[in-house]
């Protein structure tokens, strides 16, 4: 568990550094962003591996208990709920689904990253580029939610992670971790 706690901490720190590097003078440093992204990836993999082993243990325990507990909401929703309403000081970090969304891009047609069903009123500052003239530093694929097998989890976000999400500024909450992190590597 220490490994997963350290992995979680490393991921959170890397996220913070990636966000703050957007504000730094001279623009994004590609080398630094790349190293941070790779550290975060490896921390995420280790965190998942650690989580998978605890999942297996937890599900076995649950099966042994009485089946009275109602099934939680389906896997997709908790993450949306969590991102909308932060619960301060909550137990588990949902860094995992955030990274999943970011690092498993969904192949979509065109540049949909600025469209958001959750907050249609908010206009992105970026112009909608035509496909032909699309600058190469914008990611071509949009992040997708990876459906993990297993029991649905109550995934909530720590207030720390929510701070980073809100730091996105013009970025809306739902794909917020997805966009700047992909762009962190690609935007130079």
């Amino acid at each position: 568990m220490e490994v997963s706690a350290e992995a979680k901490r490393i991921m959170v720190v890397a996220l913070g550094k990636l966000y703050s590097s957007r504000l730094q003078r001279g623009g994004l440093r590609l080398h630094r962003s790349l190293l941070l992204t790779r550290v975060m990836k490896s921390a995420r993999d280790i965190y998942h591996a650690a989580l998978a082993t605890t999942d297996v243990a937890a599900s076995e325990c649950e099966r042994r208990r009485t089946p009275e507990t109602t099934a939680g909401p389906d896997g997709g929703k908790p993450e949306l709920e969590a991102f909308r309403s932060p619960a301060p000081g909550t137990e588990e970090v949902a860094g995992a689904p955030a990274e999943l969304r970011r690092l498993r891009p969904r192949s979509g047609a065109g540049n949909k990253e600025n469209l958001n069903p959750n907050d249609p009123g908010q206009q992105s500052r970026k112009r909608r580029a035509k496909a032909a003239a699309e600058p190469d530093f914008l990611p071509r694929k949009k992040a997708k939610l990876e459906q993990r097998p297993g029991p649905p989890q109550q995934l909530v976000v720590t207030s720390a992670l929510m701070d980073y999400v809100h730091c996105g500024g013009e970025l809306v909450t739902h794909p917020a971790p997805a966009m700047p992190l992909q762009r962190a590597v690609a935007a130079c």
């Binding site: 440093r29 080398h31 990611p139 590597v185 130079c188």
Partner: protein, 453 residues
């Protein structure tokens, strides 16, 4: 009255401790003769020091004639200004990333200086004479009234105070999309390379509107990016060879005769990873921050976060020598990651005979390794103001065992005092060490029998 004295003291302390960001030295470089030393800082300025020819002290005290001169300021100029990329809405820092001198061909000196995007060629020349005695103009250049001229005179050259003029001769711009990290002058004397995170360009010193792209590691899809270029250098003698290092700890030797685009390396230098030492930060600490050819062109010196390595050009399986710079930091990598120190880029240098290598560390310490004995020594870039000619003391970081007086504990190290930039005189044992906003120049004593004085 007492209060006034105290407040003056407080203000003075504050001023002394406060370091302007712009004054932080970001690069140091000797020219080919070692008579000139250039430093660049974060504010975009370049300061050139020149070595005094005559000794300043009585010759009987030291017994040396003319060799150990001091370095004094020769010229200061603003090389780069803050700039703005309007297309990407990005500020371009004026910080000087690298300075490289050109080999001297006439009375003037030339140097290349670069920031993140633009490389400039500067001409440094001296003027100590001016013509005087014109017939139609007076000495200030104003036209004379013709009726006052009664005789003809021949203008003569009169000595004036030495004036050092620095003029920009070429500006090599728009060559790089990413941040320039290295420049290197070719031994052919006509071309030089500039490297950014993903590309290396070759320029002709006389042509500013075009350059050749010789390395391009940008993937078609930026999401597939796995490594970046961290440093590049031309071979000191072979004008067709150059090396570049990557963030994954590899070195690639490229031969420009093989093809126009040197994406396919001629040799790949890589050390197999030790699986036992794998950690979250293995990749960050294996990133090479500097690469230098030896003067004889047979070896390469690289620096990563914890070690300095010497590679033989003829052996690509691994380094021939590995020197631990500050192994005691390996257990502190997590904290160094959090305070950003793990991303620090240290430089490394060879001495003139390639027998000693030197690199920087924290707490104003720097390390020298004797390649013949394999032994390393830790020195501190600090000068006691009361003893201007003191011998450098060797320092030790306490890592266990018997603690000696003067040892510094790992937790007492000051990580804000980092020695990132340094240079070694091309032929003598004179080193220039940049410690934040201070430049230290240390000289080896020529006569060992005088060390007791």
């Amino acid at each position: 009255m007492g209060e006034d004295v105290e407040s003056t003291k407080i203000n003075h302390t504050f001023l002394r401790d406060y370091v302007t960001e712009a004054d932080v030295i970001s690069t140091v470089e000797f020219n080919q003769t070692g008579d000139l030393l250039a430093t660049g800082d974060k504010g975009g300025r370049v300061v050139i020091f020149q070595r005094e020819i005559e000794p300043k002290w009585d010759s009987e005290e030291v017994g040396e004639m003319g060799d150990s001169g001091e370095y004094n300021v020769y010229s200061t100029f603003q090389s780069h200004e803050p700039d703005f990329d309007y297309l990407k809405s990005l500020e371009i820092e004026e910080k000087i990333n690298k300075i490289r001198w050109l080999p001297q061909q006439n009375a003037a000196h030339f140097l290349l200086s670069t920031n993140d995007k633009t490389i400039k060629l500067w001409k440094v020349s001296e003027r100590d004479k001016r013509p005087e005695g014109y017939n139609l103009k007076d000495n200030e250049g104003r036209l004379k009234d013709v009726s006052t001229i009664t005789s003809l005179q021949v203008p003569v050259l009169k000595h004036t105070d030495l004036m050092v003029e620095v003029r920009p001769r070429r500006v090599f711009s728009n060559g790089h999309t990413y941040h320039v990290n290295s420049i290197s002058v070719n031994s052919d004397g006509e071309t030089y390379l500039s490297a950014d995170d993903l590309r290396i360009n070759m320029w002709h010193l006389g042509i500013t509107d075009r350059s050749f792209n010789i390395v391009d590691i940008k993937p078609a899809n930026m999401e597939d990016l796995t490594e970046v270029i961290t440093a590049a250098e031309f071979h000191p003698h072979h004008c067709h060879l150059f090396v570049y290092s990557s963030s994954k700890g590899t070195l690639r030797l490229c031969d420009m005769r093989a093809s126009a685009l040197c994406d396919q390396h001629t040799k790949l230098f890589e050390e197999p990873e030790d699986p036992g030492s794998r950690s979250f930060f293995s990749e960050i600490i294996s990133s090479v921050s500097d690469v230098k050819f030896s003067h004889n062109g047979r070896y390469l010196l690289t620096r990563d976060y914890l070690t300095a390595k010497v590679w033989d050009l003829n052996m690509d399986k691994g380094p021939v020598e590995t020197y631990q710079v500050h192994e005691y930091l390996r257990s502190k990598l997590c904290s160094l990651y959090e305070n950003d120190c793990i991303f620090d880029k240290f430089e490394c240098v060879w001495n003139s005979s390639d027998s000693v290598i030197m690199t920087g560390a924290y707490n104003s310490f720097f390390r020298m390794f004797d390649r013949e004995t394999g032994r390393g020594v830790t020195l501190e870039a600090w000068r006691e103001s009361s003893k201007p000619r003191a011998v450098l003391r060797t320092r030790r970081v306490y890592t266990g065992g018997k603690r000696r007086r003067g040892d510094v504990g790992v937790d007492s190290l000051d990580f804000t005092k980092k020695i990132l930039h340094m240079a070694w005189h091309p032929s003598e044992n004179i080193i220039a060490i940049a410690a934040t906003n201070n430049l230290y120049i240390f000289q080896d004593r020529v006569r060992p029998e005088l060390q007791t004085q």
